[in-house]
Amino acid sequence: MKALTLVQAVNDALLVEMRLNPNIIVYGEDVGVEGGVFRATTGLQKEFGDKRCFDSPLAESALAGTAVGMSVLGLKPVIEMQFSGFAWPAFNQIISHVARFRNRTRGAMTTDMVIRMPYGGGIRALEHHSESMEAIWAHIPGIKVVIPSNPYDAKGLLIAAMRHADPVIFMEPKRLYRSIKQEVPDDAYTIEIGKAKIVTAGSDLTLLSYGAQMKEAVEATFQLKTRGISVELIDLRTISPIDKKTIIASVKKTGRFLVVHEGPQSYGIGGELVSTVTENCFTDLFAPPARMSSPDITPPLPRGERLYLISTDMIVNKIMELINYRP
């Protein structure tokens, strides 16, 4: 065991898994000598050489497109998009090929790979460095989307992603990269993709979140406890496919539901989960299932970002509203 930050846990996952699997190839912009702009790939080139961890030319479509070829031939590419806001040149390769090869070839060829990308706001960055567009990726059939919220999960989920038989988009909450340390086992371990986690058991309301937003969700849960309100907190962990079972069982127990996430509201993760709850828990509900997300606007630059991100207070207030709801 050692205490690691989230970005160190990502690095550790790559390190231990590359030792076990010689077919893992890590490449992207600045990932080699520098070890990535966030240092997620630090030390990999030194240990594994520049055939297994290297700086590629600067072109995101080419990162994903070459990874298609490598994975079909049996390698396991783990590519880094430097920021999720710069992954869009790769969109065509991902939606048209990465997500489709298994189906297109009826299983003759697979494009199992991991596409890592830091996402989310709150780090006072330039334009294009703060978005949470996971819903766009989650909308694509044929790929899985995973978002960890803490160092322990980051390592276990990333190793699971590298062992997964299908392509995984692994989004890393950069706001949390260095904000917390957690004890993480030294060896390789996995956390099942597709399974949400009940972080705190509770009886009055189900609060669901994931990634960077979990920080405020945990704080809200704690604050409400001191007010005598028992929140069941769920960390979604895998955005696609959704672990409906865990969510439905929880809401059937609590009768109230709130999902909180960064990123635009319309056609988002919140809307999807509210539908799931409405369809499956309609008669168990004491209050309308609710979502709280950012508005449908371009993410403001840092001077305006506090207006866009969701605070602990906002979550607490919304939960009180749902608890006090009378039809």
Binding site: A59, S61, A62, G65, G69, G74, L75, R104
Partner: protein, 362 residues
């Protein structure tokens, strides 16, 4: 060897001309033997018969959309003949001759054009062939990744990738050339410059005089060949193959050719090109010059040609019927290949779809 055929100096490799005469002054390139020329002729003929048959199947309403390759067959046949069986083949979608040479059953190809994913089930160890790629030029990057993998796995396999003249304007084509050069991987890019991208002529795509010259910007050589001369196609590919095997990196080949048919069976070329232009190219047909050559050499005669045509037609019809008669998809099949293991959520959607299709609730 590529230096003597620098496209920037207006050179284009042609070994056999339109009359079936071989330019004997060309000695610095690998030449096909007569028995190889006969094999090439047979595959080009077979692709031609299949192509014409496919267009007529479309007219009968038995085949939805089909992209004819008539006139271009020497490009994929000649280049694949210069490759080894274990080398990787990354097609665009107008390489029927090359696919037949690879041994991919025509019934599979017809399944693809009939709209059935089962046709693209190309067993890796059997064919070393990627599925056809519909998003133009996106496959060029797959080829570079495959070439990286081959280099990493040290298996000495070369990758050949096809793209059209229109495809050379796509970012993915240019990124692929750049990555291939930067990584110095064993890959050959083959442009089938058939002069048209649907209705858009080659000159609208780029101000470059040739497409082959683009290679030099990425640090490797390019060559333009007469794509209707299977000997030139073979020679250039063979040289590129040798170069790749010696770890000397990628090559770009531009096959200068012509699409005699429509873009697809849904296209009407009379809107955008003149019959005189087509007529000029009919004289340059790759099949005709091979027939002239083989007849001159007494390697084939009119009777044998007709016999081959009949034989191919019979085989092609049989293969088409196999494809046509494949049982229809089930709900289970259209879900089964989304992931290795069907997630719970998809299982639920599958059973809901089954219920919906049966028109009953519960």
């Amino acid at each position: 060897m590529f230096e003597s055929y620098d496209p920037r100096q207006g050179k284009r490799l042609q070994i056999m001309d339109e009359t079936g005469n071989i330019n004997v002054s060309i000695k610095d390139v690998p030449l096909m033997s007569d028995s190889e020329i006969l094999i090439a002729y047979q595959f080009i003929l077979k692709a031609r018969v299949a192509d014409e048959w496919s267009v007529s199947l479309n007219r009968q309403g038995r085949l939805p959309t089909y992209p004819p390759g008539k006139g271009q067959e020497a490009n994929s046949v000649g280049s694949l003949m210069a490759m080894h069986k274990e080398d990787w083949f990354v097609p665009a979608f107008r390489e029927l001759g090359g696919m037949l040479y690879r041994g991919i059953p025509l019934s599979k190809v017809y399944q693809i054009w009939l709209g059935n994913e089962r046709g693209s089930h190309f067993e890796i160890e059997k064919y070393h062939t990627f599925p056809i790629s519909v998003p133009i030029a996106s496959q060029c990057l797959h080829a570079v990744g495959a070439a990286y993998a081959n280099q990493y796995l040290k298996n000495n396999r070369i990758t050949i990738c096809f793209v059209g003249d229109g495809g050379t304007s796509e970012g993915d084509f240019l990124e692929a050339l750049n990555f291939a050069g930067a990584w110095n991987v064993p890959v050959i890019f083959y442009i089938q410059n058939n002069q048209w991208a649907i209705s858009v002529p080659r000159k609208i795509q780029t101000r470059s005089t040739t497409l082959a010259e683009k290679a030099f910007a990425f640090g490797f050589s390019g060559i333009q060949v007469d794509g209707n001369d299977v000997l030139s196609v073979f020679a250039a590919t063979k040289m590129a193959h040798e170069k790749a095997q010696n770890n000397q990196g990628p090559t770009l080949i531009e096959g200068y050719t012509y699409r005699l048919g429509a873009h697809t069976t849904a296209d009407d070329p009379t809107i955008y090109r003149k019959q005189e232009e087509v007529d000029q190219w009919i004289n340059k047909d790759p099949l005709l010059r091979l027939e002239k050559y083989l007849q001159k050499k007494n390697l084939i005669d009119g009777l044998a040609i007709n016999r081959l045509k009949d034989e191919y037609k019979k085989e092609i019809m049989q293969e088409f019927e196999i494809a046509e008669q494949t049982p229809p998809h089930t709900v289970e099949e259209i879900f089964a290949w989304q992931f290795k293991q069907l997630p719970e959520d998809l299982k639920e959607q599958m059973s809901n779809l089954n219920i919906r299709l049966k028109g009953s609730v519960g």
